[in-house]
Symmetry: C3
Subunit: 260 residues, 3 copies
């Protein structure tokens, strides 16, 4: 069983999920994928889930980034080609992972027999999704959880693609990690077309000189390197520093990378 949420590291909400699963199925191998997703950032959660969950191999993947909890968005459990089941809200969070693992069938989580009673309107993670995962982990059937739905009908969130204007690249900030490395919605194809001397600019900042490179050590301490990161994304990093701080950018911002 893997777990990914925006509940915050070592928070009581994460603890509640673990406690419920461990109680029902003590022998389950539990792996925390990430709990530091920015609150409510479904897009970021979806990207992290799709790249990290497959490392665990076939598993039950529980993911909850759910700003619409309590509305009529569906909760689903999706059976995939490799035997994995992906459980969580159908708000765009699950679709990229399901596409990667090959969604084969899906159910809407609706059975009153496999949830806590009463269900708190703001904590479906504890009261709906974790009980569903515990049921599956203990060997229960997917179909017990509710009626079948079309696995091709999962909600998908789109992202503005990278854009070229001559030698000027514009790409969207997907997020940043603890080191202040800025990940962009672009990849190796865009990196290959960049010049070696660059200038990077966010919407609220001035242009900052940068170099196209492959490792942090390609630039002097404090300087920016534009590289392809460990997830295959174009990224901006500051050696021994924070690219987020230098550029002043936030998720969703458009960043310009020009020859410089």
């Amino acid at each position: 069983v893997t777990l990914l949420t925006d509940y915050g590291p070592a928070s009581e909400h994460v603890g509640a999920l673990h406690a419920l699963i461990a109680r029902r199925c003590p022998e389950a191998v539990r792996v925390d994928l990430a709990h530091d997703i920015p609150p409510g950032d479904v897009r970021r959660g979806a990207a992290v889930l799709a790249r990290v969950a497959p490392l665990a191999g076939p598993a039950i993947h529980l993911a909850v980034v759910d700003p619409g909890v309590g509305t009529d968005r569906r909760g689903v459990a999706v059976g995939c080609h490799d035997g994995s089941v992906v459980v969580g809200p159908d708000n765009g969070l699950l679709a990229p992972l399901c596409a990667r693992l090959g969604a084969e069938r899906a159910v809407e989580i609706a059975s009153a027999a496999h949830r806590r009673d009463p269900v708190a309107p703001t904590f479906h993670g504890r009261d709906v999704f974790a009980p569903a995962v515990a049921h599956l982990a203990a060997g229960g059937a997917l179909d017990d959880l509710g009626p079948g739905v079309d696995p091709a009908g999962l909600v998908v969130l789109s992202l503005p693609p990278p854009a070229w204007d001559g030698a000027l690249l514009t790409a969207t900030v997907l997020g940043a990690d603890r080191f202040g490395n800025v990940q962009l919605g672009a990849g190796a194809a865009e990196w290959n077309r960049l010049a070696s001397a660059l200038r990077v600019r966010g919407p609220r900042g001035r242009g900052v000189p940068a170099r196209r490179g492959t490792v942090f050590a390609d630039v002097a301490p404090g300087d920016l390197v534009v590289h392809v990161d460990a997830d295959g994304h174009l990224a901006v990093a500051a050696r021994d520093g924070s690219a987020v701080g230098l550029l002043g950018v936030a998720p969703g911002d458009r960043v310009e990378i020009a020859p410089g």
Copy 2:
């Protein structure tokens, strides 16, 4: 074995507890309930412990929020009706959980045979409580840990109750979560008496308009909703925003909720 502390997420102090328990009893199922309790906030730790630990079912519950470490406050292990044992400092942290689980007998942790030697005066979690838990997890007897004490004599912290002055409700801030939701020392009984249009005010802020509701989506983005949260507490939340930020409140503050 469950663990709750104010040591901070993924800190070395938490790691030390896990390492000691895993060494003595590798087969123990370890569940982190929470480690982001505000430093030294015994009252908050007690509330979180009492609501999350029962989700794990019968277990050994290790809890350490211990600003008085090294003074003469007792360390205790409390055997409860469901077979659980609750281990930690007797400073108010354990009493609410023990009351909920039904304390049946208790010992003061005093045996030199079941602690690390020497005991650091500022880290009883590592040197006293984790070894006691490891002893119990490995099948050791409660009575080995020290002399029996009265389970009804545990330290209890009290909280100012909610108060009505006509239609004006005053309640105490228990804490806030990562999403900026403010939890109050009141519940569904108070919620039922509130008007639908409200004004919420902290001790240092101006009144902020709010609505009585059940889910975040009951209000427009950025607006406040006063609801009963997933723990049964009256709570103030800002849809897609932070109620803590809007109200400027901190744990222990008194908040006024008036018709507006």
Copy 3:
């Protein structure tokens, strides 16, 4: 298997390590020692690793604080006297633990058969070190990972020792914990020579009165106590407050402690 990194609590990078190890070896007992090491602070990571990892007993210890990832610094696996194997970058991070456990033999991690393909130049934790650990956890031989190297040749980082000028002690800040307690590169020998009334001063701050003591309760709330902490280090703590904040110090700073 123990894990220590500077990846940040509950981050996806930590999740990736756990996922890979759990996939290859589900029965491995995984213990998080710490993931809140300040980014790139190899010295701090080395100190935490050396004091916490031994609590877990014989184990495979995976440690990654690796600002030089992608350069020619070596990755190594070191077999120790107690049967432990220590895995990570050879940049000073591993040497103190290996010295404590007694390094007996070492290999450079170089085998293409035991890494992910391709290796991302900025994420050896996921692509090189975790696969090596999974190999060892599943019973694989140390020698499979690469050619033998001299275990006495590990990189060692040095630290300025504490210095006395009459009754004035100067020591280096090793780091601070969540409570704002400042740990210094000195120990019980220095504490024994201190006066009972003291004045503590960082490089950017004014002298702050303090007392020599053993527990936080030795001083009034908000006041400073100079004590020997749970790791045997000289440390400065503020009762119910933050010594870091009062002194304005950061890791690497030199702090003066004078009679006052």
